[in-house]
């Protein structure tokens, strides 16, 4: 069984967000694997641990993405594909899905795993798009996946704690929800072993997508980002801890709760 895991490298969740042009300034901030995608990778590694599977990770982005792929290899992925091409930069979700679909066509995976959304653009778009382009079923918000006889039974998280159970033939694309598993850390042994594992670099031309993806082909474009206008917001209480606590206590008393 071959599993393709789609990873995105995103700014660290605590990174400082300074606006630069239509997005944020990337210089000088830390990046990490998108939190949702770490659960997708873990799910793939668990399938590998339980039987026979090759886990291939793929990521799109500049040189910095190498670090994310090394981390994934250190956690136990077998090999990596790095789509690194200025012609791909600036793609919208559909452009990224086209790139991943071209990789999937070369790899013919039995299963594609990805995270439900990315912590930076919060789009939740690429995995179902990838499935549509591959012509296979998909499921999002996956909290459980069980494989048997060329089928996968998934539990999808609905609102208010309800679950939907669905059955999909393989190959298919699953977009996993956070909390589906407990994500492992890369061991020192794993990190050492990862140094010998291959990272295969590809460009738009290699994938037959020259001119079809990237900023020029994007149909959805972020025109600008900005700090949300402050509404009424909270009354901010300032001062030494003692003063702050006195004021909070006063508010709680006003509510009649003390």
């Amino acid at each position: 069984m071959k599993i393709l895991v789609c990873l995105k490298q995103v700014p660290h969740q605590d990174a400082r967000l300074d606006i630069d042009g239509a997005w944020i300034k990337e210089d000088g901030i830390k990046f990490e694997i998108n939190s949702y995608d770490t659960y997708a990778l873990e799910e793939a590694l668990r399938i590998k641990d339980a039987g026979e599977a090759e886990v291939v990770v793929v990521s799109i982005g500049p040189d910095r993405v190498t670090q994310a792929l090394r981390t994934a290899l250190g956690m136990g992925a077998d090999r990596a594909i790095h789509v690194k091409d200025a012609e791909v930069d600036g793609s919208d979700s559909l452009g990224l899905a086209k790139v991943l679909a071209a990789v999937a066509k070369e790899e013919s995976p039995d299963l594609v795993l990805a995270g439900l959304m990315a912590d930076d653009d919060n789009a939740s778009a690429v995995p179902p798009m990838l499935a549509e382009l591959m012509g296979v079923p998909s499921a999002t918000s996956v909290m459980k996946a069980e494989f048997a006889d060329g089928k996968v039974t998934v539990e999808r998280e609905l609102e208010g704690g309800a679950l939907e159970v669905a059955e999909l033939p393989t190959p298919c694309v699953l977009a996993v929800q956070t909390g589906i598993n407990q994500v492992r850390y890369a061991s020192l042994k794993g990190i050492m072993a990862a140094k010998k594992k291959p990272i295969d670099a590809k460009g738009a031309g290699d994938l037959g997508l020259a001119g079809k993806v990237g900023a020029g082909a994007a149909l959805a474009k972020v025109e600008k980002v900005y700090v949300p206008p402050k509404g009424d917001g909270a009354e901010i209480i300032e001062g030494a801890t003692g003063e702050v606590v006195e004021k909070l206590l006063g508010k709680i008393k006003e509510l009649g709760l003390l």
Partner: protein
């Protein structure tokens, strides 16, 4: 004049409130409005939607779409797109919407924008970086599929003289199958009736700090302890403590959020709170937008001190 196609959604036998919000959102765009309603035995629901903002409502009324499954719904929505040639397709950003809408955009090779909360001067507006920034998104091409955040706009009020029209689709190509829906299990911790909730988030930093710092304040106030999603995902507390759209929806008299930044899915779960106190070291955290009172500071100083003060006040 262009056309906007609304994909209405049925939940518990009725058109969802979010679908009436799409009808209102469509008015902002200003096109002719058409809709599609998908399900089995849905004539009355389609009539209701046609009379309240849905315009001409296509009904895909077949056994094969009695329950949601991604392939069957995708087939039905694609057929409605074919039949109406819309400029804009609006879908609610619900577990159904985010599952199927990107597929429609990919099949149409058209623009896609997700989880928008406004349409302003030709651009869709949405949140990015978990609510820390807003983004204006413009689209090009003949068509755009957009998902709209439930609750972002008020539902359509008023009446329209719509009509309904059946749309037959061939579902034989649907590979994914619906098995069952399971309702939420009874909670060991029922936060929905709690009058006071003290919740901790990622900022608490360590599972051991919940019994040491968060629970004592909840106990002192006679309330319950809750948590945000990252805490539950990390395995620090069981799911039954989770407040949010995928956890418990709460409406206490007092909600204290400690070390919670305020991701949208958390805000959806606690916005019914009567009074909110937020304590967070990041003054830009979105939680301060919904809080009544905020403390920009170290929760490990403020929370234990508040716990002692509450105990002293109660004698």
């Amino acid at each position: 004049m262009g056309t906007t196609l609304i994909v209405a959604e049925i939940q518990n036998g009725a058109i969802r409130e979010a679908s009436y919000e799409l009808a209102a959102f469509a008015q902002k765009i200003g096109h002719d409005v058409k809709s599609v309603v998908i399900g089995s035995g849905i004539g009355d629901q389609a009539e209701a939607f046609a009379a309240k903002g849905g315009g001409e409502v296509l009904t895909v009324d077949q056994d094969g779409v009695a329950n949601y499954s991604v392939d069957a719904y995708a087939i039905a929505i694609k057929a409605a797109v074919e039949a109406t040639s819309p400029d804009v397709v609006l879908v609610s950003n619900t577990p159904i919407g985010w599952d199927v809408a990107p597929r429609i955009a990919a099949a149409q090779d058209c623009a896609f924008v997700s989880d928008v909360f406004n349409y302003d001067d030709g651009a869709f507006v949405r949140r990015v970086f978990n609510g820390k920034l807003d983004a204006r998104v413009t689209t090009s091409g003949d068509r755009v599929v957009a998902t709209v955040q439930p609750g972002a706009v008020a539902a359509f009020e008023g009446s329209t003289s719509g009509s309904t029209k059946p749309l037959e689709v061939d579902l034989s190509g649907a590979a994914a199958k619906f098995v069952e829906t399971r309702v939420a299990e009874a909670k060991g911790v029922d936060l929905s009736k709690a009058e006071i909730i003290v919740s901790g988030g990622r900022g608490v930093g360590d599972p051991e700090k919940f019994p040491e710092v968060i629970q004592p304040l909840a106990d002192a106030l006679g309330g319950a302890m809750g948590a945000s999603r990252p805490v539950v995902d990390a395995g620090w507390l069981p799911h039954e403590y989770q407040v949010g759209s995928s956890g418990q929806i709460v409406a206490p008299k007092l909600y204290i959020a400690a070390g919670i930044s305020g991701a949208i899915q958390h805000l959806v779960g606690m916005k019914g709170s009567n009074f909110v106190i937020a304590i967070n070291k990041d003054g830009d955290a979105p939680i301060f937008e919904v809080a009544d009172v905020g403390v920009v500071g170290d929760l490990f100083e403020v929370v234990p001190a508040l716990t002692e003060a509450v105990k002293a006040a109660k004698g």
